[in-house]
Symmetry: C2
Subunit: 585 residues, 2 copies
């Protein structure tokens, strides 16, 4: 089994076409040939996160040494059916793992930490540097992968040298506690890498984004500014997180039965506001969903979540209380079909049966692509008579990413000499670039550098010096990298039209058919007689082949595919996959 098990699957994936889109090109293991890095220059290459939202991973190089910032996963889209996760393409670093001085983690979201286990498998003792909460989430994740990472806690305001890298960490606020920006000082210049960031001026934990620190760094000189572009298209400012509290409170105050609030499992401040509202309205709380239970346990241990004595109980215990004393805080805000909330909406949850008059609040955004799933959950709940509150009808969510107005504040504080918009699709990168230019950055100093673009900072000026191939590395089940564009395009064809299989046995000497062809369709039609007409068509084609003296099973299979494909196109105007098998017996 050794040659077929996924354990020895080599790492790598399809190259991206040079239009930078997802997939489309044939998988290849093109040699990595980044241009030579001149002495004294600083290099930046994103392996993920630029041109897409997800799998953020940036590699910096100076004097032969590497520093990695973040190592996340990307979640697949419709065009990548059956894929569980998408990893950054690690080929640039896989043969240079001993050159890596450290991995700096800006915060604990999956799109920044999710691929770490695969990186750590390449070198177990790679130092991972980050804030307490981020590292606690990484530790929990690595436990599931049976990896014990080497973690080094840092705090905002701290400055430390790691190899040749002089790192300084700044507090930033986002939709998870303990997020950090990192300044990277090198002899070639200073980088400010924001990670995910916003400028909430009334953060619940009082931990402001350190705009003053950015300004100080700006005075000193920021040569390269890598800045979160997610909301660069959106004018104005993100409302403070604390605005959500009173809205949650008002819905919970009105509710006469059970209340379920769903949110992201790492959004500690949002959960804190749910706990506060629960306490104010004399409800007890249970956390529902594995990641919610785990993360809130960690947050409480680290003092990031304040839980009054006796407020949070087990789900069993809370469900014993009268409905008007119950508040459940749950995962499933994206409509994930297997989540607790989704199962509740379908009446399939083992413990929680929602009824008319219950309230469900989705205190979350809808991540693009998830709308249909989320609305399916909402409609199922509405059907039963559950009152559903979501961001389309009430202010129960604010974004974790700076809008254009906030980004302008940052540019004016940092006064960067060169800018690379990160964390965004093309529309976000373009919007970010526009903001940079508006604040006075020369347009030729704003570098749009999608994944795989090699940017070198030389004499204070950033320029694209080349490109390396970066593929979509798909995780499907427990194998990595064996699902590529061919497999995905077959899945898309099969998913649209199913297949028709034609199995025939031929006499290997004469080419004469042995017995009747076996025709089967799956995903083609519910009509059991739909393919009856195929048998005589195939038989006629086999007779023709035999008459022509053809005995090559491959040629026979091709001609069978052709006639059946033509038949189905003419009669049904459909394009199922045609799968002929010719056995020479």
């Amino acid at each position: 089994m050794s040659s077929t098990g996924p354990g020895d699957r080599s790492y790598g994936g399809g190259d991206r076409g040079d239009r930078g889109g997802r997939g489309g090109d044939r998988p290849a293991r093109a040699p990595l040939a980044p241009p030579r890095l001149p002495k004294g220059a600083l290099r930046m290459v994103a392996l993920g996160g630029i041109g897409e939202i997800g799998r953020n991973m940036t590699v910096y190089e100076y004097d032969g040494r590497l520093l990695i910032v973040d190592c996340g996963v990307l979640f697949p889209e419709d065009a990548q059916p059956g894929v569980d996760l998408i990893l950054p393409d690690l080929r640039l670093v896989e043969n240079r793992v001993d050159d890596i001085d450290a991995v700096v983690i800006t915060h604990g979201h999956e799109d920044h930490i999710g691929a770490l286990p695969w990186l750590l498998r390449l070198r177990k003792d790679l130092p991972v540097i980050g804030a307490r909460f981020s590292l606690a989430l990484i530790a929990a994740k690595c436990r599931e992968h049976h990896i014990t990472p080497k973690l080094e806690v840092v705090k905002e305001g701290e400055r430390r040298s790691v190899g040749a890298w002089d790192l300084e960490f700044f507090a930033v606020n986002h939709s998870i506690p303990d997020a950090l920006a990192v300044a990277i000082r090198t002899p070639a210049g200073t980088v400010l890498h924001t990670g995910d960031i916003k400028l909430d001026q009334l953060p619940l934990d009082g931990r402001l984004t350190d705009l003053g620190g950015f300004a100080r760094l700006g005075e000193e000189g920021v040569d390269l500014f890598c800045v979160d572009s997610t909301n660069a298209e959106v004018p104005g400012f993100v409302a403070p997180e604390r605005d959500i509290g009173p809205v949650l409170d008002s819905f919970i105050a009105k509710a006469r039965q059970r209340v379920i609030v769903a949110s992201f499992a790492s959004h500690v401040h949002r959960v804190q506001q749910m706990l506060d509202a629960a306490e104010a309205h004399h409800r007890k709380v249970a956390f529902v969903g594995r990641s919610m239970v785990r993360n809130m346990q960690i947050a409480q241990e680290l003092g990031l979540l304040t839980v009054p004595d006796g407020l949070v109980r087990s789900l069993d215990k809370v469900l014993e209380l009268p409905p008007e004393q119950v508040l459940l805080i749950s995962t499933g805000s994206q409509g994930e079909p297997l989540s607790a909330l989704s199962r509740m909406s379908r009446g399939e949850h083992r413990q929680v049966n929602l009824i008319q008059g219950d309230t469900v609040i989705l205190a979350s955004s809808m991540i693009p692509g998830n709308e249909t799933s989320v609305f399916t959950v909402i409609n199922e709940l509405a059907r039963v008579g559950v009152t559903v509150v979501h961001q389309g009808v009430a202010k129960v969510h604010v974004s974790g990413h700076a809008s254009a107005g906030e980004l302008l504040f940052m540019y004016n504080a940092v006064k960067p000499k060169n800018v690379i918009p990160v964390h965004g699709e093309w529309r976000h990168l373009r919007a970010q670039a526009k903001l940079a230019v508006l604040t006075g950055v020369p347009s030729d100093r704003v570098i749009l550098a999608p994944d795989g673009t090699v940017v070198d900072l030389i004499d204070g000026r950033a320029r694209i010096s080349g490109h390396i191939p970066v593929g979509m590395v798909y995780v499907d089940g427990n194998a990595v990298g064996d699902v590529g564009e061919t497999t995905l395009s077959d899945r898309l064809v099969l998913g649209e039209g199913g297949f028709i299989s034609i199995t025939v046995a031929i006499d290997s000497h004469t080419g004469r058919a042995v017995g009747a062809p076996t025709i089967a369709g799956r995903g083609f039609s519910d009509d059991p007689n739909a393919l009856d007409a195929v048998v005589p068509i195939v038989e006629a084609e086999l007779a023709r082949s035999e008459a022509d003296g053809i005995t090559d099973p491959h040629r026979i299979a091709q001609s069978v595919r052709r006639v059946v494909g033509r038949w189905v196109g003419d009669v049904y105007r459909r394009r199922p996959m045609i799968v002929p098998t010719v056995l020479a017996v």
Copy 2:
């Protein structure tokens, strides 16, 4: 071929589960047994459009006669892969076509007219009643289906008897010209059926929704109010359509190169504003996309679109002009992969090559489920450097459906005795019901009646009297109804994991394998060796069967499926479809 061609495919589809969700239940042709309609009672049954947005079709019955309002299609979701269209389940009327007095069409959108050709195939001379623009679109559609419909034009303000039905038509505004509401007076009571509606108080064509007429009818007494629920969740009022004009104008004024504006092909008033802006800024216009060209031709002929002489030209001619004199008005606003705009975004359009500095405006909504496609187009354009304006960043779209504030105006004018929320998913129906109750309709007079619910109006009171089975009727290629839930669930499995086929020949007498098994996978792995280990596993299983004296190909196939399924689950943690074929030779 007669037994396999789609031509004789019978009409019908899978029944919906009684949770009212989409699909899931096995297809069946359950007998239709609606409860007996008492003498003097009026019946209303929606065959589509309640509990879903799309395929609107309502059947009214009085004294053995039927009146149909609208006959639209529903567009498929991810859970219905490969399906082109979904039709209403016509079984209720297919054996009663001679009882139908007429089909009233409220307006010309696909979700209100798209299924007419299939209804008209059941009875060619069915009178179709509607306003001029609606009927012109129907005529064009029917031409494509080689049907000549019997069309009867009506106008707002008109009252006419059709059989036992006393119909009165009211002007309403929506996102297409010439929309009508219809009042249906019967001895059992009066229905007001709004169709799609909003209360734009400054409509571009001056054609206000006839709220005064509604009030007059309300004074007379409206026993049943069937009202558009699409935006019932949304607080407040829809901004006037005319607010879009200045926004379009400002972007067109700024543009220095080509401008492409995409919108729905029937949104005549939006297109009028594009034409006005084009003229103001000395640009010539070409329509792009078959439906846009066709519909604007019709609108111009009917005097609904004012086109200054020489403004609109063929695409070829317009493309000869300097870029700053070009404005293209195109379809493709939903990111449809084959649309002109989508092809332009990928650089694959035969005539239009967009470059950095061009402007694309998506003057349209994003229909839920289309977000990923739309953002793909936007990102491809942004990548090239095209400036893209969409509703997320500028006020380039307003909805065609009344928000909650407008709906309250309607309730207060109509003062309905009974209400059936229509045109909505469950979340919309619930929100609509809440508004009805707020304005004083007793809650037991607000009937939530998803597709197939039989509602009878007796002595002025509407009540649910039963349910009829209504299925999802899928059109795939040129066949109707043969794709059902089994086919769709196979497609979903194939689309997620592909399949592994195992073909073996056995000696029909001994059960002994003849030759080696043929193993093939599609949509499973790009690794050519991924399935090498399957051969010995299958051979071992065949040897076991032979030793047990098993010669039944079906039993052998089952055991092969089992061992291969177990292997792939253990080794890969995936669930491809396993397709064994055992030939007895």
